[in-house]
């Protein structure tokens, strides 16, 4: 009799998750939409300049290695992810590999997304399955020699990439851990705010210490609490308010790539999540530079 209880529980749980994948439960879709915002997928996977459909891809990303064109991630069977399974999707985000096992270029920030919780990835998948399919065909990347050789992405992954799920730090508060998760993984702030080494790998020792050559070759500011070079003079409220509205403490307003981040992502988060991001960013060690 005692044995039966856990067995029943297992059956119930697996039943529930099956239902979840078959006809995505509405809660998963709603949660997935929030994850999509927090992770900023829309800004990259939408060709806003060309008036493209949301998530249908086609946005050009200029990098020192050439121009990447983001793919269509709507559920269109031909042009998008229509043929994908949930497992394919989890593998793309956590391991940076396509359904055939080939590596993606790190212009797709799976280097940050690898820490996403399985729950968040599944919810995100449920949401992506629910958006209208768009048949915009993918455009091949235009990369300089030798970066156009995709096998080099394999070499890059050997050198710099290891799948690593997020592990909360038990010595820190829940708020701090939530902030760390949002900044390092979903919000991928480091992809722009941390300097990069020669092959585009992030410089781990200088987390968020600014990037002299960010997206479109523009400078991205240091957001560690360094008094002179970073945002040491900002209060937690200043940071949270900036992420909500784009207003800096001096009344100026963010432009550049951050405008996208605020409009599509951080302004749409809960106040609690913005406060968590602020708490985490303030806890970093102050680093001078870039």
């Amino acid at each position: 009799m005692r044995l039966l209880v856990p067995v029943c529980a297992v059956l119930l749980v697996s039943g529930a998750s099956l239902a979840g994948t078959a006809a995505a439960e509405p809660d998963a879709v709603a949660r997935g939409k929030y994850v999509l915002r927090a992770a900023g997928c829309v800004a990259c996977h939408t060709d806003e300049k060309g008036g493209g459909t949301v998530l249908a891809g086609g946005r050009a990303l200029e990098t020192p290695f050439g121009t990447f064109y983001t793919p269509n991630i709507t559920p269109d069977p031909g042009a998008g992810l229509g043929g994908w399974t949930e497992a394919d999707f989890l593998q793309a985000l956590s391991q940076g590999r396509d359904p055939q096992g080939r590596p993606y270029y790190p212009a797709f920030p799976y280097t940050s997304y690898r820490g996403m919780t399985e729950q968040d990835m599944r919810d995100l998948w449920a949401y992506l399955q629910s958006v209208p399919p768009a048949d915009r065909a993918n455009k091949p990347h235009e990369l300089g020699f030798p970066y156009g050789l995709r096998f080099l992405a394999t070499v890059w992954q050997w050198l710099y990439f290891e799948p690593a799920p997020f592990r909360p730090n038990p010595d820190r508060s829940d708020v701090w851990n939530r902030g760390a998760y949002l900044v390092r993984h979903l919000g991928h702030c480091a992809e722009c705010h941390s300097p990069r080494g020669r092959l585009g790998a992030l410089d781990g020792g200088r987390e968020l210490a600014g990037n002299p050559e960010g997206p479109d070759g523009k400078k991205v500011p240091n957001i560690t609490p360094h008094a002179k070079d970073g945002i040491g003079g900002w209060s937690k409220t200043d940071i949270a308010f900036f992420l909500k509205t784009g207003f800096l403490p001096d009344g100026d307003v963010a432009g550049g790539a951050m405008e996208d981040v605020i409009r599509e992502s951080t302004s749409r988060l809960s106040d609690e999540d913005r406060a968590a991001i602020a708490a985490y960013v303030q806890s970093l060690s102050p680093v001078p530079g870039p």
């Binding site: 001096d250 009344g251 432009g255 550049g256 405008e259």
Partner: protein, 153 residues
């Protein structure tokens, strides 16, 4: 008849402004533009301090909002052709302002309507409406800064 006259005088006014500006040095034009932007930023910074609860000057918000609305009316004048980065390097204004004038005009008018709307909201004095309104106004600042401005070092 009235309309024709109006159009004529508006045309004249523009022509005159153009002449006056051509005589002003690019450096001074850029500095003037930056002063106007700083004035706008001064007002939004002050309003933000109220909205964040750092100071309790709630009654001042309407004054600042009127200031922004007033400044929004002169924003169309502060981008004359001889004030671009080719004329004076120490500016955050991007060449796109003069290359895509129709798009730039849209950004200006979006800002003007948001500034007018925000001044009305501020007059009403409701703090939640003010906080939301400031967010909406900020979107139109960002909507111009993103395509048309590169922040100086």
């Amino acid at each position: 008849m009235r309309r024709v006259l109006c159009a004529l005088s508006a045309g004249l006014a523009l022509g005159l402004a153009g002449q006056a500006l051509a005589a002003d040095s690019p450096e001074n034009l850029v500095k003037y533009r930056q002063s106007v932007m700083k004035a706008i930023g001064g007002h939004t910074g002050a309003i933000a301090a109220v909205v964040k609860g750092e100071v309790s000057y709630g009654a001042h918000v309407a004054n600042h909002a009127r200031g922004i609305r007033d400044m929004s009316l002169i924003v169309p004048d502060i981008f004359p052709a001889n004030s671009g980065p080719m004329d004076y390097a120490d500016t955050g204004a991007l060449p796109k302002i003069w290359e895509e004038p129709a798009k730039f005009k849209l950004a200006v008018s979006a800002f003007q309507s948001a500034a007018a709307k925000f001044a009305d909201i501020a007059e009403g004095g409701d703090s939640q409406a003010i906080a939301d309104g400031l967010g909406a106004l900020g979107k139109t600042c960002g909507g111009c800064h993103k395509p048309f401005r590169q922040k100086k070092e």
